[in-house]
Structure formats: structure tokens, C-alpha cells
Amino acid sequence: MSVCDVQLQPPLAQRGKKSRPDESGSAFQHVLLSTGNIAQTATRTTTGSRDELLQSLEHTLTSSTPIQLQEPNSNVPILTIGNTTSSDILAEDRTDLDITIKLFIPSHPTPSHVHQTLTHLTTSLQTTTIDTVIVYWPASSSSLLKLLPLWRELERYVKEGKIANLGVSGFTGADQLRAWNQLVEIKPTKVQVRTEAGTLRVAPEIMKLSLTEGFELYLDTDPDDILSHRTLQRVTDIHSLPVVIHPSWIARYQVVVKTRQVLLSRGYV
């Protein structure tokens, strides 16, 4: 169903899932798009997470009515589309579950991104703890420092017992990882890497580093650019959302039942 005539007034600026204050006098500064649990909907695809995100976004925009909510702890109104609350999770024992969040930061990582993501997700997943948070950051040696403030915020959550493990993704070399581990207080225990196309071979220096630094290696199956500004713009245009829109952060959550290795819930916010 169409979403354009409900509560939106052009021009629109978005944050949350979208970003960048645009014009002044806009009705909404923030928009939060949640796909809900896509693990069992017809939008399941085996062609990769970019398509998965795109299809589930489309599905959400088509099937959900936008609602105006207040952002927690502020008076800033947020346009929320879609619903993350998953009752499947409620029924299970929290100790049986493994909850992982992967955070994609397109451009400017700030600590508040962490705060927003985690607040939203812990509420909708009805939990106070997250087992693993992985941050995707297409790191170059010069940009490591940009990620630091966000990481410090994550460290704070770890110290408070709200996150158990931290991880990184998108770091291309052993040097970067080594440098990163010098910079941070709480080191990542999980590192996602890309491998040679068609194989599962990891560069030997990274293998060695994983042993000395004590992190576990995982396969990064996500593309560099999981949701570009242009793609998001095109999607919102098709759905007649008269907005100028930039994603400021994208989070993927996943809930797995440990004792059965069954995926319970997976979605994007």
C-alpha cells in the first residue's frame, strides 16, 4: 500500500536508518525502517545480503504503515516504518539464544549510532544483553581513528555487561588489525574477513595474527556497500516517499537458538 499521503510532508530529512538533516522546517528529522523477521518471509533469497536487504526493505515499505513515535529520551519525532518486535524470541529461553548484531556505518561513525541501534534493538528484541556486536568499517589505515569513538562507546557497553563480544569486519590487512588492537582497550574477539574468491583461504599473516592476538576468524559474506544512498533513494522514490534520504546506519540482527542451531529471527533496521 502507498505510504506517501499519510504523514509525510516534503521536504523530509531523515536520521536513524536515514540521515542527514536536509531542509529546515521539515516535519521529520528521523526515519526508522525496520524489516522485521525476514528469515521466514517470501523475501528470502540466496543471492546475497544486498538483495536480501533490498527486497525486505521493499516488502516493508509496501506492507507497513508509517507511525510517528518519539525517539526515546528526546522530543524528536521519528517516523517509524515496520516493526522489529518479534514474538518468536519472547517464547524462548534467553540463555538458549545467541543474538548478534552487525552494524554497517556508511560514512560518519559516531557513538550515538551505537546508542540508537542498541536501544532500539534491545527494546524490540526484549533483551538487556547482546551476545556479539560486529562493526563493519571499510578501514584504511588513515581512517582507523575515525572509528575509535564509536568503539569506545561499545567498550562502555561491554564493561556494563550489556554486550559480550565485539567484532570487526572490513579491515583489509593484518597491519590494520594489529594497529587497531594497539588503539583499543577491549579487543575484538571476532574478525570477519574476505577470502580469495571461490575459496576459503585466509592470508597467512591474518591466520598468524588470529593465534597471537586471540581472535576467531569468520567469513564476511556481505558486500562493501550493502545499501547505497542511490539505491535507497530509488526505493523511496518508487514508493512515493518524497524525501531526500541518506542511510546513517544500518544494523542487521540475528537470533539463533544455540541448542538446535536454528535461525529464529533475522532482520534489518
Partner: protein
Amino acid sequence: MGLLSLGTPLPWDEAKNHADHVRKHGIIQFLNIWRRLRNRRRDKLLWGDEVEYVVVSYNDGEKRAKLSLRAHDALAKLQQIEIDDIASGRIADSSWKPEYGRYMLEGTPGVPYGSTLEDLLTVEDNMRRRRQLAQSCLKPNEAVFTFTSFPRLGTCNSLEPGTEPTPDTGASCSLFIPDEAINPHARFPTLTANIRLRRGSKVSINMPIFHDTNTPKPWYEPVPPCLTRTLSQPLPAVLSHGCSDGTRAQKEEHLCNESLNPKALPSLQELVPDALADHIYMDCMCFGMGCCCLQITFQACSVEEARRLYDQLTVVTPVMLALTAAAPIFRGYLADVDVRWSVIAGSVDDRTAEERGLQPLKNSRYRIPKSRYESISLYLSPGPNYSGGCSETDVESPPPGGVSSRPTRGGEFFKDKYNDLEVPFDKEIYRQLIDGGVDEHLAKHYAHLFIRDPLVIFQELLEQDDTASSDHFENIQSTNWQTMRFKPPPPASDIGWRVEFRSMEIQLTDKENAAFAVFVVLLTRAILSFDLNFYIPLSKVDENMRRGHGRDAVLGERFWFRRNVFGNPAKRPAEFQNGVPGSVVNGVNGTSVNGVAEVREEDEDVCDEMTIDEIINGKPSTSFPGLIPLVRAYLHTISPPISTLHRLESYLELISKKANGELPTTARWIREFVRGHKGYKGDSKVSEEVLWDLCKVVEGWKDGREVVGLNA
């Protein structure tokens, strides 16, 4: 091979009188289990494999490889090791059981495998250690193998120690295999004799001969030398009586009072009523139950999940049969089939002539289309009130708005039209189960299984406490041997509802056995995680089983498989009918209403004929994802460490290659070995010399980890 009770088994003419008693109490026992355990929830994933082995004895002087009946002694040693381990507080690494053949061993992991992906990596090593342990209990001139069908079982002088078959007496009355080949535990010979007696004739199995360049057409088998004496006399009364009616009349003239020249005997097919031209004739249970298989049992979190997986995996059973095909030779001849399934089906077929439809019903209650060893005839459906999870709320309080208000979780996929086979069932038992609180589908399942008579009844176990024992229930349940088995918990243990996958043939190497076992388990996880729907009519599954028998069916045949395996496409927005985001499709399969295409039900449930390659690896032209890409997507989602992923991926690769022909099936490998052997004469006969070399080559692979051209 079922549970082994101890005691005095009743002969058939006594046992048959207690059939109703066993059935009646078996159902009561099931109802007791149902009432107590139907709401069991949250059982974790535990699973195990069963590997069956044969023991071969080498006679180096004569270059003969025979089946060793001394495997029975090795079994005693293996069981003692297990007992000693447990007594001293250690966890037994493996567990051993007798199997039908006295030359067979069955080994399982000592404790079930756990629920993590890392547990899957321990399977191959566990299998390897079992093989080594079994080998260590054998004599120096013996070796353990995992042949699905031992090529020269039933040929002259193929057992060590050697004995003569006794066609006119004993449990089997076989022309080819002596009763000494049967495991001496009371259950097995009794089972053999009672099947034959209930049926009213010997079992009769005819598998098509493989016509090679020098194989005559039509093919009539020359009487094997060791049978010359038997068949040159007027056939013993029990033998001619022991063949099925219908074929007997034609052959009578050869049988009565003719003095046949032992040096110029007619062919086997002309002498033996049941033997067909162009076919390899087999006449006893040992030909079937003396084969080896690979079986996987795993625990579900609830009875609903067990039923759901039972149904979904049923569709996959013929696919796995074709992929694991490993039985191209029977009784020393190359057959025109690659698998053992029909042979076993025939070997325990206790149906009377009336039940088989050869005579009008008079003494038998039902016409029964299938042997008690066959593919399943009914889907179970997950059952009412199943909304997909494994939590208390599923049963106690369906979610507000009803089950359908949630995204589909597998409970909605079942439709009555999929159960399209003729299924005889006991109406009284059905009523009993319904009255006992069982839903219609599960009730019909057991009312169907329980049309069978119990074949082995122990005198001492006739009277049981139905609240504490499930022996009568298991008696019938475990002598229905099907492609899948639904297994309720035993009454007095902590075990949950389980499902057994039974169609796979055993492979020559542990790497392959591990790969297939792990694949089936991963497939179940993908089915549950992605809400996959494989349902097709059971008649098509049966058709697939038939097609899966053929020589190289994996490459040459097409199999029915569901096209739309993801959720419910009727709920998919029109924009995605073609999988292209953003495009508007104007009713590809129907009219578009409010942007949602209404897909006709026939299109939603359509199934296509696909090759095994397409089913396993995908068919892009219809967007059918393929079972391996689905499993791979599951693995990438769960995201185990790369080292784990790497090893699991190597198993997926192996199966992928078996599916597309880059690697041969075991059956094709064995067949090509025989045909390429210098001693093979192109006449379908597998000689002693060829078998010897085959065994020596396979044994030379040591632990069979990597065998170029077979599993690598």
C-alpha cells in the same frame, strides 16, 4: 534392526494367535506415551549415525574373499570393550550391535553428537575410529568393509566357515544361503521363518540383469555348480511348495519324477518357479537384510517439529538414494540397478497372496499395496496448533489472531491432497487413537502401520505393564521398515521425539559417509531456519523411488521436486514474481490485486521433473535454489568460524560433485572397476578373482580419507 529382547520366540503357528493381543497393547502403550510426552518441548538437537559393516575373510592360497561368520565373535569383543569402558566410568567411544547377517557388525557413536556445527566435524573421525576398532578385533586374514551389497553373497562357497544351504529345511529354505549366515540370536532366524510361513511361500526377489556385451539376451542363468545335486533331483516338496503360486504351474513338468541329467540341466529359471528370465533370482531374507545401510536419527525439539521434519525429509529420500547408490551387484552378477532398496523390500515381504492382490480376500483382512519394508505411505503433517516454534505457548495458547497471523512457520504447508496413496488401515485402531486424543493424521499413520502382524513374539514378554513398557508397540513399529521412521520417546528415559532417515546406502569410505550424514543434518537445520516447503504428492515420491533404482539414475533420470520451496508465494508482492525489485508485474500467474498477485494454488504447489544435479545444485531457469545452495546460505547465516566452514564446505563440495557427475557414485565406481578388470568377460559375471582384487583395492585405501576418482 529393532530392539533385541531376550527369551523364547514363538513359532509362527503360535505367534499368529497373539497378533491382536500385541497390537491392542501396543496401541495402549503408544497412547500412554502420547499422553505423557506429547508436550515435551525444547529438546536440543542430538543425533547419531548407524554404520553397518561386513567382515571379509581372505583365503590367500586360493585368492578368495569370503564373508566371515566369525564377525559374531568380533562383535562379542567389541561389546565387551564398551561394557568395560562404561564400568570404569569412561565414555564409550562407540557402541556395537548385532545385525541380521552373522558376518555383519553395526556401529554407532558411543554418545550422540551434539547440536553445534563443530560437533559435525567430529563425525568422520568417529566413524574412522569405529572402523579401526572393529578391524582390531578381527583375525589377521580378515578385514572390515562397508559394502552395501557384498558382491558374491549367495554364490557357491562364499562363506567362511563354509556350509551348504538347506533348501528343504530350516528358517530360510534358500537355494543359495545357508541358515548359518543368519545371526544366531533367536530373533533373526525366527523372523526369517515367520515371514516365510506367514507369506505362505519363500520370498521372491528378481532384479534385472545388466546386459553387457557378452551377456546373452534373454539371459538364463546356468545352474550354479553347488546346486547341481539339489536341482537334478525332483525338487523337494517344500521347495516347490515354497515358491509362489502362479509361476509354479508352468514349471511343474520339470519337477515331477523327471530324472534330469546333472551335466545338462536346464537353466535356473526353467527349474525354479519363481525365477524370471533376464533377472537375478534371490530367495531369502539374507539377500536383503544382509545388505548394509547408513541411517541417521536425530532428536527434534517437540513432536510437532519431528513430524514436520519427517514429512520434509521424505521428499528427499529418493534423492539421497540415487546419490548414495552403491549396490550394482547381487549374487555375483552385475544388475541393471544401482541400489539395494527393492531387494530388501522383497526380502521381508510377508504379505500373503491375498494381501498382494493375487487372490480374492478370504483369510486376509486387507489388500496391502506395499511390503512392510518400503517407502512411507502417509505424511504426518506437523499436527494441529503448530505455529512453528518449540515453546510452551505453541500448544497452550496460539498467538492472538490465530496461527495464520504470524509469518508462516511450516505448519500451514501440509495439504490433504499430498496424501494421495491407497492406504489400508485398521479402523478400530484409528478410532481408539482418535478417542485417546491423537489427531487424525498421526492416528491414521499408526492405524496403517498396525495392520501388520507381529513376527517375533517372546513367550516371556507376552504380558507387559503398558505404562512402563513399550515392547509391544516397538514390535510392530520397528518391523515397519520405511524410508523415514517416526520414533516416539521410550517410556522411561530422557530421550525426546526423534526422526530416522533410512534410505541411504553405505559408502566405501568414511569421508563419504560423514559427508552424507552431515548434509542431511544441515538440511534439517536449513528447513527449520528458512521455513522450507518440499511437499509434493506421495505418489510422486514413490515414482522418484522407482526412478532412483536405475543404473546411474543420478545422472540419467529426472525426479519430481517442488519448484517453490520458500514460504508461500501467494503472499509475495507482485513486484517479486520475477525476483526483480522495483518492477511492476501485471499478473504473471494471475490477476494483481492491490499490488499482490493472486497465485493459483496449482502454480504455487507445482513440481518439476529435475535432474539430481538441478535438485542438489540449483536450476537458475526456474529460480530453484538447489539443496546445497540452501545449506550454504544457512551456514553463511549462522556464520561459524572459517575453519569450521572450510571443512563443512568440503563435504558440500563432495556431494555437489556426486550430483553433477564429476565424481561417480559408489555403484558406478564398482561397476566400472568390474568391467575394466582384465579377468572380466563381459558376461555380467563377477568372478572370485575380480572380487578379490576389488577387496584388496578398497582395503588399500587404509582410512579412505581421500580417494581420487571416488571422493576427491
